[in-house]
Symmetry: C2
């Protein structure tokens, strides 16, 4: 199948399609048209066609898309069939919440171990994932092929720990520290979840909402 | 100051400018040019000028921007000076991590209370924020002006709890449940942090990285 380069914006929309297709498949839908999908996802038909055109044509005129085929294709594009291995670095509240409540497996990630500096945690396991002392990280990474590290250490330790991981050969970091990481090694992928960007966007829209409320109050009755 | 409507993309870039300006101010920089800012943030000068043009002109030709004035203006646009009040709903691992490690106050949010169903938590406090039983939420919201709720309940309870919050008059929800919320009330703002979108974006780039590695191996030596 011919594939052109997919823009970052499209990449970030693909998981939404995946969710909607999962719902359709769960409801027993065998096919879906661009028009239906657009209505369900509040997107225009041309937006959907444009998004899907990036990775080849597998909808049929007058038939729409086979939900399972489309779902499998999107999952494959996103690398969900790659069986990535990962470790968690930092098993505090946030790290524990991720292991316990975020379904890594459904996205193709297998969590092999967690690391923390707290002696009390080491030797325990969280949601079936063994927790080791941070000092064992180099040996563990030397012995196991690890595709990604989930970074959930305190913000002050973020830069140092990320550099250590890169030095140990980790090629992808999922960064939860709210600290920008500028690694010297350009071959290490960093994906950061910045809570503050999201809260400040909400704050902006709250301000607009309040201004709109004020305008309504000022209107003559 | 004249303000045009700011696009969602620009809104989400503004916190980055804020971070960089904080660093510059901490380093004692009184002014910064678009060219310098662009170099530091890996953005083009025209990108920066275009972003800032959305909210009025306060850079000076040949001088650049006063770092503190620009910082204050961006903070004001983002509503950080509004002194928003908020509650946390769901004080599990993730909720606790947010109270303990995410600096709500620096973004203008004052956390007044947390709510959970676990009797053991109620009556305690986390990072100075009192924890009450979820059954006390209606009374608390009736007695206190609350601008936003941080939703950190288990995914299965997300829809129901969000509907309850909207019914109790909460106008903004910061959603950490990884569950899409489609509230019937269009006046309730919902900002969702979708961990899975971020992990799948990383997964996509890891797949591209692996394909690139394979191509390098296949090249004749």
């Amino acid at each position: 199948m011919k594939r052109t380069r997919i823009s970052p914006q499209v990449i970030r929309r693909l998981p939404r399609y995946l969710d909607q297709l999962d719902r359709l498949i769960a409801d027993g839908a065998v096919r879906v048209s661009s028009a239906e999908l657009g209505r369900q996802m509040k997107l225009t038909v041309s937006q959907i066609r444009q998004d899907f055109s990036c990775f080849g044509k597998f909808g049929q005129q007058g038939y729409g898309y086979n939900t399972r085929v489309l779902r499998a294709e999107i999952a494959s594009i996103l690398g969900m069939d790659r069986r990535h291995t990962a470790v968690l670095v930092g098993a505090g509240n946030l790290g524990r919440a991720l292991l316990q409540n975020f379904g890594f497996a459904q996205y193709g990630f297998r969590m092999l171990a967690a690391f923390d500096v707290l002696p009390g945690l080491c030797g325990s396991s969280i949601a079936g994932v063994p927790v080791y002392h941070a000092s064992e990280l180099p040996a563990f990474l030397a012995e196991n092929r690890i595709d990604a590290a989930v970074l959930a250490v305190p913000q002050q330790q973020a830069v140092q720990t990320a550099a250590q991981l890169a030095g140990l050969g980790v090629r992808a970091i999922w960064n939860f520290t709210n600290q920008d990481l500028h690694l010297s090694d350009p071959n290490v992928l960093v994906e950061s979840i910045r809570f503050s960007d999201s809260l400040l966007a909400l704050s902006y829209y709250m301000k607009q909402q309040a201004a709109s409320d004020d305008r309504k109050l000022e209107e003559p009755h």
